[in-house]
Symmetry: C4
Subunit: 271 residues, 4 copies
Amino acid sequence: MTNRHLALLVGAALGLTLAAPAIGRAQTPPAKAPDPDARAKAIADVVAANHILANQGVVDGFGHVSMRDPTDPTKFLMARSVAPELVTAADVLVHDLDGNTPPPAGVKLYLERFIHAEIYRSRPDVNAIVHCHSPSLIPFGVTGVALRPLYHMSAFLAGGVPVFDIHKAAGGATDMLVRTPELGRALAKTLGTHPVALMRGHGAVVVARDIPQVVFRSVYTEQNAQLQRQAMALGPKVIYLDPDEAKKAEESLDGPLSRAWELWLRKVKQP
Amino acid sequence: MTNRHLALLVGAALGLTLAAPAIGRAQTPPAKAPDPDARAKAIADVVAANHILANQGVVDGFGHVSMRDPTDPTKFLMARSVAPELVTAADVLVHDLDGNTPPPAGVKLYLERFIHAEIYRSRPDVNAIVHCHSPSLIPFGVTGVALRPLYHMSAFLAGGVPVFDIHKAAGGATDMLVRTPELGRALAKTLGTHPVALMRGHGAVVVARDIPQVVFRSVYTEQNAQLQRQAMALGPKVIYLDPDEAKKAEESLDGPLSRAWELWLRKVKQP
Amino acid sequence: MTNRHLALLVGAALGLTLAAPAIGRAQTPPAKAPDPDARAKAIADVVAANHILANQGVVDGFGHVSMRDPTDPTKFLMARSVAPELVTAADVLVHDLDGNTPPPAGVKLYLERFIHAEIYRSRPDVNAIVHCHSPSLIPFGVTGVALRPLYHMSAFLAGGVPVFDIHKAAGGATDMLVRTPELGRALAKTLGTHPVALMRGHGAVVVARDIPQVVFRSVYTEQNAQLQRQAMALGPKVIYLDPDEAKKAEESLDGPLSRAWELWLRKVKQP
Amino acid sequence: MTNRHLALLVGAALGLTLAAPAIGRAQTPPAKAPDPDARAKAIADVVAANHILANQGVVDGFGHVSMRDPTDPTKFLMARSVAPELVTAADVLVHDLDGNTPPPAGVKLYLERFIHAEIYRSRPDVNAIVHCHSPSLIPFGVTGVALRPLYHMSAFLAGGVPVFDIHKAAGGATDMLVRTPELGRALAKTLGTHPVALMRGHGAVVVARDIPQVVFRSVYTEQNAQLQRQAMALGPKVIYLDPDEAKKAEESLDGPLSRAWELWLRKVKQP
């Protein structure tokens, strides 16, 4: 399967980057000239993010992480259907925003690739997406208790964390999976301009500018949920970051972010 | 002891598969023709399941997992009395549905083999059983708080999780162990057609179509219990999967199940 | 230091076993004839118990485990002052019941050796003792909430778990350490005939017939505390084992105990 | 970068120790004569402390630990901006109490070095400082619930644990970081003569006489917080150490401290 994947990837890289339109990047830095190494680097980042999120307890056998194709903003890179911890570069496939790219023969795609496709379509500022069943987020998604930042590491949550209820979006009972473009669009609509949305009875989606940031946000959203649950049990009144603090703190997170990424990467590298 | 076990197993495989009756498989796929490799494959699966359940925190020094003998539905395969993490193929013995198969000399059987024997007898749809002291299930078993699915991974719990009280079943105090056919039958009766039953002051029993499914259900029953306990502490009202959602979600779990199994298996394989 | 320790041990073994009185073993199986290998085996068990308790989270840098000397019931074997995880056979010293055995030059003893000395003196049925700061026990020791067995693995707790308050025992403030024979006797008195006593603001002491049993009891006392705390938070009424169940369940624990010991031992052996 | 760091360190060691003033050590033991090996030993301790605190869960990708320069009390040793688990001796830089020491080219300093600088200035008794986002401390910092010692291992908390609110200190919203000398002084003022101060919505600062003590205090402050949260949920009334007990217990901790340090050090050493 490895060779077949590589062939697909090489073909896609050669064929698609030539035609890569510049749409939808209005809010992102100007696209760099197509770089033959950019996609290989992106694939390596997707692989690392999968391993890090497993190592950090954000994903288990399920969940997926994607990155907008740096050589073509109408595509994104995501593994075939496989547990995040086991993802290798050969598993990473190019997906289009319709989620319809045919997989290599015998390869299964994540059923919920439409989460990624539709958010990339509606959020030109987003270049990396995580879908996870991060354990501490589940209780918040089913109780209506608002997830709020109680320390500076999760300041990015200050604008609110909407909850997507698929029952309402679908107008009836589903299998809880975002398995169609329509449901993907409904989730994207609930997400709006936020960095995180919870999915009732399911998990969450986290979006960011790039792979290190989406990993950082995933890890600290999980941790904030855990600490908020503890704080709410400890005392009757919890002081959250005020909006101004949160805004300033979030701006300050960019520097330290690479410090965490460097550590997390080291933890998943083979010795 | 290894040689003696192997001799027993080989003898059993040769002798019993010829006479394997077709009873009790009405609700399962039609039995395949006796396959000389089928039992060896089954034993390997039982060993893997033991290791995975230990690795995932479902069992500690105690608990056991069994599989209906693929070459004879009136038998099942389960280890001698040993900690799950230490089970090897040579430890796996053929048990009959009376729990009376004499063990090799010097070998002790699990006292509670009647849990397995009687459930296999009463549930022809069941081909794999886990008995465990899964930690997050204990509090549910002793408080009367109903375990209910709060996310799609544990949708299989939606039909309810009965609690077996051995005191009532035995009509008086016991040592809490299901150590007789009568107690096994009482537990099987409490289980009914459900996939999981809690055992008050003891643990739980989980049943399924096959080994990967029983491992999956064991892992996510434990996780649902942990998250439900947290959710109930977090907010006054927890939204569980509604019956239609749960039914649809459960049907959708079959595909992803192999993804988790592949990961779990990798985690317990020696490098 | 190794040689000096060995010399001490050899000398003690030669000298003391000849005079070993048969006192205080009334409730234990009849003493075997002095066995030149018995003490070496005992020392190995003490070392293993230290490593297992660290591996199982019952002790951290602190806590200690001892065994009555099989060749002399008026002595016990316990490490010099060192973290349990680091104990080697050369660290294990012979202590007398006054806690006054002079240590080899440059060697420090555990300040709280009087816990062990006085319990061995007052409890002839006890041949192994653990003192620990087992984390889940601390909250029970400071709240007055009774620790009670909620499942069969901790049935041995059914007779009640007394709490030792050193402030009352000493008639005033202490440094919380049982650092004198008087305080050791007061603790032994609080323990009475129980297998476990909590120590307010400090930890616990666990006693048993032998090393595997004291390790088993230590592990499952910690786990019962954790699960009881969760159960009490989950529902208004927790069903504990009734006295008859507990008695019968406790009697049944002896068989499975070796299964857990075998596993725990394997986990701490170097590969 | 290694060579450049080493050059800086060697230069600093040669140049600065000659001019090392004796100020601010009034409450500490008399300074030893400048020892050419003292700084190398100190740097090794700073590296070990970083690794231990990561291993013990007190720091993750963030947090820092410093030590007053043993050859010059107006300086302190702390890593460049890097995750604690990754710190090597070559990363440790000499900082002055203004936090203004220019870093080697291309090297970034911790933004919050002023926490350390200003506490060393105001607390001559302090020779080691940890800043961390120790998880169990966050809920105490945002609820106003007082952190109090419930067992003897954390007796040093008995004098009270003040909470630093940067919003009040700065007279308005900040990015939550102590990134100026002024904020460092405000934090030092809140800390006063205490060993620990919480930082609302951020983490904590822990100070001590030396590196082993500051690590010990960091580990057991985290653990006390975890156990206090559990105790408060378990029962309506928690008994804390009384002031006399705490005083005596704290004095007794010095001996055992080296036992924990020896263990923690072993855990982070490569085999």
